[in-house]
Symmetry: D2
Subunit: 357 residues, 4 copies
């Protein structure tokens, strides 16, 4: 099963890239929450294609329509369903090459899993476009979290081999964190950011693509959110983060680097700060025993380079069962990191709200 998730908030997603509409049903929201539709639109735009030369020139109307659960400007408490109609599709593009499995895409695995009955056009249900409804849901959850003071923000941590600075894990300013959203290519060090963008443009020119890492922080979480074991904060976030197409790694706090540390370096020692208990360092990224400790929740997500490249690649023809070559046509992002970033934030907001309630 692919599209149902959650404990206190239940998500149910649906849709294919070239079908009638894609959408999401969200059950378990509190009644009476005033929704800022502009806020949602802004988040949708952050993910939408066709904004600048860093991404695909393909334009998509990502305008959502709320079908239910919303009345007089507020949530009703009953299921909130929103859909996004599909337009501007070049469905015919895919007919000629439908039997050629695009390397590193879900074409082959989907073909086998669904016995060839899946909608192959534009990746079908596997399309990154299906993350648009997740951004809708995330924008709803993010608003609710912000009304409680909880802020989520992210930056591009790396593109190919270029690295941005890291968040200061022990203290993160909420306003600066929010401000990152205003930038379509958010980084902490602008000079590195420019080089990253050049790298992306160069990759496009070379008919290639590049990957990168996203670093995300959540601040002002109360202590005690999450559970040990299967519903730990790490488990819950990782399940959703690995649902985002292209994610191949997730690490919390200093992540893989903690494996290179001694206990005496890695341990986050406690101290009293007024009426709060804090830690001097935050190598664990704000989570201990699967539960938040009140320090910033920080994690990183590795995104693979866009698999759709126009360079000639070796593949197979799934019907003829023979070797073949493919040159992927169409308008693709040379790097999915900038557009994946709001999706990462969205699923983070969803996970946190589910754990918080």
């Amino acid at each position: 099963m692919s599209g149902v998730w959650g404990n206190k908030i239940k998500l149910s997603i649906f849709g294919e890239s070239h079908g009638k509409a894609i959408g999401i049903n969200i059950d378990g929201l509190e009644p009476g929450i005033e929704l800022d539709l502009d806020y949602i639109n802004k988040e949708m735009e952050r993910r939408a294609p066709g904004k600048n030369k860093l991404g695909t020139p393909r334009k998509e109307e990502d305008s959502f329509q709320i079908l239910s659960g919303y009345f007089n400007g507020r949530t009703t408490g009953t299921p909130l369903c929103a859909i996004i109609h599909n337009t501007n599709q070049h469905s015919k593009d895919y007919e000629k090459t439908k039997n050629l499995m695009r390397p590193s895409h879900g074409d082959f695995t989907g073909y086998v899993k669904y016995n060839g009955f899946n909608d192959y056009r534009g990746g079908g249900h596997f399309s990154g476009r299906i993350t648009a409804p997740l951004v809708f849901a995330g924008a709803v959850c993010k608003q609710i979290l912000e009304s409680k003071g909880i802020v989520i923000g992210s930056h591009v941590k790396s593109i190919e081999k270029l690295e941005d600075k890291s968040f200061n894990m022990v203290e993160i300013d909420g306003e600066k964190l929010k401000a990152l959203r205003e930038n379509s290519f958010p980084v902490l060090d602008e000079s590195i950011g420019l080089k990253m963008q050049e790298t992306i443009i160069r990759a496009r020119e070379e008919r290639d693509s590049v990957g990168g890492v996203i670093e995300t922080a959540v601040i002002n979480l109360p202590v005690g959110v999450g559970d040990p074991y299967f519903d730990s904060v790490e488990s819950t976030l990782a399940q959703l983060l690995f649902s985002v197409p292209g994610v191949k790694g997730v690490e919390f706090g200093v992540g893989f680097d903690i494996s290179k540390m001694k206990g005496s370096e890695a341990n986050d020692e406690y101290y009293i700060d007024g009426d709060k208990i804090k830690t001097y360092s935050n190598n664990n990224g704000g989570i201990l025993g699967g539960i938040t400790n009140g320090m910033p929740l920080v994690f990183k997500v590795a995104m693979k380079p866009t698999p759709s490249i126009s360079k000639t690649q070796r593949t197979v023809d799934i019907e003829k069962k023979e070797n073949a070559e493919i040159e992927i046509q169409g308008r693709h992002d040379p790097c999915i990191v900038p557009r994946a970033l709001p999706v990462v934030e969205a699923v983070t907001a969803i996970a946190i709200l589910d754990l918080l309630q």
Copy 2:
């Protein structure tokens, strides 16, 4: 909620380090599966403490008792519950220091979450000991997988800064993979393995601890296991892997390194190999679109250094709300990697069996 997981197989774990017993209830197993209890015992022993100088000298009887769901040597198809009685506990050790929050443990977060009512002795429900029932369940699932030809194996990929070789991701020999289990400190390069063990022993002598990375492979999986989005193979495995105490990072295939590659390098191109479709490389670790592609499933897990070190650390007294110091007494592992390795395999087996059915 902390202890219920699964779709087709449902796990329910329980227990505290110093309570009467710990255990697991497994629902959804097929009836009529002959269980090899020796096999289970061997897996339990791999995790058990007190085996050698690399680990804690503390001995625990990890002998399990099956309470239900097992009749005449076979599973009945009804819930299989097994418990492990707690013995050899030094519960008094914890009384004196119960208000001193051990850095990087779940003491503080658990205290807040459970309003101080959690069992603090030996980490209570947060204890690594609770992974013993997971190993029991994993040993059941592993047997079932092996009867279908599916083999899971792991090695210590790194300890502190020392790195072992990596699995050859495109072709892994099943017998060699299985043989790794015979070694209590499995590595691909024995000479590095010896150095790693020296590092661990040195850490103990320095009253410190070290972390490391585990690399795991699953071979002979059919194509088409897993689902896009929330029940992707990555999502499902990551949820369980991050449930293992001490895990701070999970990456599939080449993982974070894929973010540094170009699409043309990262993409796994297809070719026909007899009646199979294979990929030349396996940077995606056997998963595309959240679904297995028939190549070896490979991932790495970052383990933090054991938080229990006997060096003096700064902490707080949670009752007095004041700064304090702690010297952790007791018998602790200077490195949890070797004992976490069979746990990682266990949850992998559980996840795979759940996805397979």
Copy 3:
């Protein structure tokens, strides 16, 4: 949470009577199932209002639109979402009386649960109209079941005090069972059926309403479907049947009457019939230990009289917190039994398909 259900098939419903659209997302269907849309339309029409003088003269377009999961005439295996746009709403009807809680409706309980933020127009999310998407989902499941030879059929067992004959529980003809669907007021004894219809028409003339009982049978189920305890056939069916607005009782086999029998009368004794094992009687309605025994699955559902009657009733004004009177305007069914019948079949089909897989 109100709208997510299922183990192997996951349903997620949404919508309000006077919102933009109502719908359902169905996850977990097999790929490649050819859907007969006429079949679905016919089932939708069985539930649709405005057909004859027995029901409300209100006409609703119950024409569904499939948004996803359906490609080239077949299911894709990914989530199948269908919506029904709301039209012909007299939303203003409800403004004047929105604070007057209609007796025996969900108005008051919904008002309190959702702090007054629920959509009150036409019952909002509590409207019987929300069962239309269930009928859509049921029609999909019913087709799949019929392709396996499993047939579901129902008749009006009683209206007020008038009783139809009962199904012969030990042997039910599949063709006759199916044929009941062709009748908009299906009964086993036509002469009683006519009297029942007169009773309904009389109730309308008296500005009142009547209730009744639906009897449903499922035949050709294999032995061994369902589980003991929480996922028993009775538990699963009852959960869905009590989700249908207006249902106040569910009984299997002879139901409450079995409580008046001696064991020696009630027990269904076995015999060999060719290569099958059958029972002489079927007082248990085809279910033993929560699991199907291969005999017809038979149950009855009690429907309350339509709460919307135009007679003056005593109520309260929820805003003013004072006693009041209400005369419900609008076009309401004097008896919901005929239109609830296809809904009962629909949820039965859904439950059975979920249990079967």
Copy 4:
């Protein structure tokens, strides 16, 4: 799957009648709840066999052992597991007749479902004995509910054709409701109660059994508990009630009788009573739109006569595939109603606590 249930509270049951132990794991309880173990013991004794001549003379130690989740007299908030060891089993009794399917038991359906691998001794996992852990869990939940003023009580509504009075649905005294528990055969009309007991004794003498109906009430519930559709109060309770072996019907309020009423009779009209809103009648049993309305929650459950009777019955030999006869030996209850009554209350408490949180 048979034994996992719940949303906010997760139950996981296990065990067979003649296995090592039966038990239950309860996840999701609040931390810090002081448990009254005597209270639990009393509830267990209500269900325990061997108390008097109405039931089986078989004595079972239903003494529970808490394995986890309980520390210093209080719940810890982590999973609470309790087991009951099996003793006094006459396992050999079942060897001779293991291939003779007892009519109206789960023997045949279980045999087919589990391919003959289920534990057949004493009904195995299908045994009514598995309800003992449910009573344990119910006694925990009941205490928690009582600390909030919510009281659950039941009486024997009928035995065979003998009927007790019904609860006054609009007003039920909490103390009287609680007091019913003190009686091992609770009725509202003692004179009928005596006749019922005579009927049961007579059934035993005739080597037969009788069924009956249990009526249960829950008072002092807040308004607004439950959800429309799949998690309605009726759906949730019915799912658990039909999990109790022997239950064949469930009805809320006046239940099936409401189907014989006119809307004008059935509707529960509202009035203001101080700061509360009440209804004059309570035909809907305290639930509207699936949600509590603050009136007493009242329902009835139909229990079938004990299937184990010592009269000769026709059956089949499942191995030989031929007709056979069976005379069931052993010590069985001539009527399960008195011992099922605390089980019905237990699952009610569990369901209500799950819905309340």
